[in-house]
Symmetry: C2
Subunit: 461 residues, 2 copies
């Protein structure tokens, strides 16, 4: 272990009670960004962070946007690797309030069967996670008076209300924000003992298909048999999207889908992912995707096609012998690797259109298109951070995937031209966005220590 | 032409203005059976009929049921064929009232491009049709003082509100109502120049399928690929119900489906059915059923399977990347010949169940099961009536089918053990159940003359 790091970790251990007091102060501020009644609270949380970062010697300020302010700060070493740290200080609304066991903005330290937790809105998402990084910096600065890396902070106040100001802000301030690599603290542990660095986020292409048949709903007695039923056409279209091996049938769909590297495969196998428990938690048993793929591959590195909704005809209680005038479905594709959402949309529409019989017409509504984010893990910071995390936690860290999308990582790539390391210490049971949100003190404590180690490791990478 | 018939037809022609006055009286009574506020009006319409039939010399009375009364009457010849005549004197509600061009219960005689019509609620369904038969009896009685057939009337007051009392009433009064053959006046002309006797009515089996997958709706990013999507299972199930020739794939589905006779096929071909116009009226062009079948066969003599409704996941505006917990569809089968609805339901459920993967379960809800009605046209009354209709109308009559069901015909068969001749003079544009219902004076006038001829022909058959 680095001689510089040891006293920093000691300092973190000693300072933990004070770190919790500081986190509690921030948690007391009800910075609900989506609710105009809390506008002043959001500003107060920004002020709290500006003040704290200035106290630590950063050059921090609140930058106005058309919505809530961005907290930006600069500091650390003059030379060495330059890191951009991203987190958000706004929180979700708290309703239904009656399901909370204690006031959402009066943080409580509680004992639970899995250890101590701090319970409050924002404890995990994202104030607790954000403060792990600030506390790591505080310890480094307290011990050494400086940091071994150059640092820029970008702390958002609109993440829970759709980030309307984020992209314009990044574009307008690209030069000031550009760094070597970004750190994003909005993710979770793989499990209670195993940290992860999210290096693959799936993209998404959503499309709505509306198949029009007869001019109006028909009586299925008078017309059934003779008239085209668009629900039948839709069923056939949707059923044909997968073959009997669970693969998507669109021509060229897998052209830009890479296999994961042997190294990554070994890391994933080492995680000992419990597919049975994962599926069991939602009442299922069997991985339902492509034959021959593991459940982890299915959600992290393989593309999908899912029917998100469909409707046609009479869907109320009882029965109505109607022959429907139209049938529609919302279909989405999770994308990986270099799959181009626009090419996939075109292939999907071609596939559907080719199956529309003479007496139907099809209409499409586009619903978003974002490519996958795949980090260039060749940058030495990735391996350095993985080693640092492995040193802190009971089990070794792995580069992991995420089935969903975290748009900020894509924006940092496309607007600021840098990769992101997504590292966080949240747990699946943190109840973010729900009543009784909490953050494990173990996540908070080891999280701070993890960042201290990462800062050290990256500075030498 | 029979010497007895000629003066009857003359009498009908002379009496037409008075017949219209009588019909208008009946139409003025707002006998909306489904609306409790109109209970007295329904009773008044029954009284009007009892009075009119008694005036004609029938032994008529109002029979109480738990709902609206049944009007029953007996009379005519002591010997000869015994006919049971069925019609209904209740009407549909009139809303939306603001779409009517004149008061629904103030009958108007109007000129239209297709000739004169009488416009009022119930003009076509079924008071106008019912009165064609009573007026034919009136003319026979006026000219000859008697009828050449024995006659029983059974006039219902609940047809437009689901006939809750009908089956118990038929069962309780089976002996009193049994006749050689029933006449049901609730159907239409094949076209303005061509009458038909409906001899085939399709049956119906309706079933609802609910496929359950995950315990709750899932995030398609977190679970998509690994978790079973029940909408995908449903699409495959529904898509497999038809082969590429439009035939239903259930094993044994066509076992009890007869081919129509050469004679019937010739009659249908003689109708010159305009499939293009039929489908064109609802924005379609091509018969969509079994390959190699005519559109008339598709709706009259071939069984079908239709998706009447389906729903799964998010179906509102916009997009939600949900992986649905369940997917459901309402599916119905129109049945012909000797197809057994219970056997078909079992075959359907077996087919569905066999396709449910390990991680899904399926639930079914039964929605009705009635076999097809196929009349024994071997009874000489059928051919006699067909000839009588052909004598009255510009084009020859045919035995025709009906895609939908008319339950009363089935009840007469199963409860009273007799076949029915379904004969009516309504036109497709009569707007029954809709605002501005009308009945063509041509339907009314030729309808009366048709029944006079049928009574004559059947008495000699």
């Amino acid at each position: 272990m680095s001689t510089a790091l040891t006293p920093v970790l000691d300092r973190i251990d000693q300072d933990l009670p004070q770190a919790l007091v500081r986190l509690s102060e921030l948690l007391r501020i009800p910075s609900i960004s989506t609710d105009p009644a809390h506008k002043a609270d959001v500003a107060q949380a920004a002020d709290w962070l500006v003040n704290d970062l200035n106290t630590l010697g950063f050059d921090a300020r609140k930058d106005a946007t058309p919505g809530h302010p961005m907290v930006v700060a600069k500091g650390g070493a003059e030379a060495g690797p330059h890191l951009l740290f991203y987190g958000h200080y706004d929180v979700q609304p708290v309703d239904p309030l009656d399901l909370w066991h204690s006031d959402p903005f009066t943080p409580q330290i509680e004992d639970t069967p899995n250890g101590k937790v701090i319970r409050a809105r924002g404890a995990s998402d994202d104030k607790g996670q954000l403060m792990t990084f600030i506390e790591a910096c505080r310890a480094w600065l307290a011990v050494h008076g400086t940091l071994p890396v150059k640092l820029t902070f970008c702390l958002e106040g609109e993440e829970e209300s759709g980030s309307p100001s984020l992209v314009p802000y990044l574009k307008a301030n690209a030069e000031a924000l550009k760094a070597d690599i970004a750190l994003i603290c909005d993710t979770g542990l793989f499990d209670a003992q195993t940290p992860g660095i999210t290096t693959m986020l799936r993209g998404l292409m959503g499309d709505e298909v509306i198949i029009h048949g007869p001019a109006r709903d028909l009586h299925s007695g008078a017309f059934g048999g003779a008239a085209m039923n668009p629900a039948r056409v839709l069923a056939r279209v949707l059923a044909g999207l997968h073959d009997d091996q669970g693969r998507v049938t669109l021509p060229g769909f897998y052209d830009d889908v890479p296999e994961i590297s042997d190294d990554l495969r070994a890391q994933w196998e080492g995680l000992g992912f419990d597919a049975e428990a994962f599926l069991g938690s939602v009442g299922l048993n069997l991985p339902a995707g492509e034959a021959g793929r593991s459940a982890l591959e299915m959600i992290w590195s393989r593309p999908t096609c899912e029917i998100n909704g469909m409707i046609s005809g009479y869907t109320g209680t009882g029965f109505k012998t109607v022959l429907p005038a139209r049938a529609s479905a919302k279909v989405s594709f999770r994308l990986v690797g270099q799959q181009d959402p626009h090419k996939i949309r075109a292939a999907f529409r071609d596939y559907v259109t080719a199956q529309i019989p003479a007496d139907c017409r099809v209409e499409f509504i586009a619903h978003g298109a974002s490519p996958a984010s795949v980090m260039e893990t060749g940058h030495p910071a990735f391996e350095a951070a993985r080693q640092a995390l492995s040193d802190e936690w009971p089990k070794p860290a792995a580069f992991v995937g995420a089935g969903g999308s975290i748009p900020i990582a894509g924006y940092f790539k496309t607007i600021l031209g840098m990769d992101s390391m997504l590292i966080g210490f949240a747990k699946d049971d943190d109840q973010i966005h729900s009543p009784n949100e909490k953050y494990d003190l173990d996540s908070f404590h080891r999280g701070i220590r993890s960042w201290a180690r990462i800062i050290d490791a990256v500075s030498k990478a």
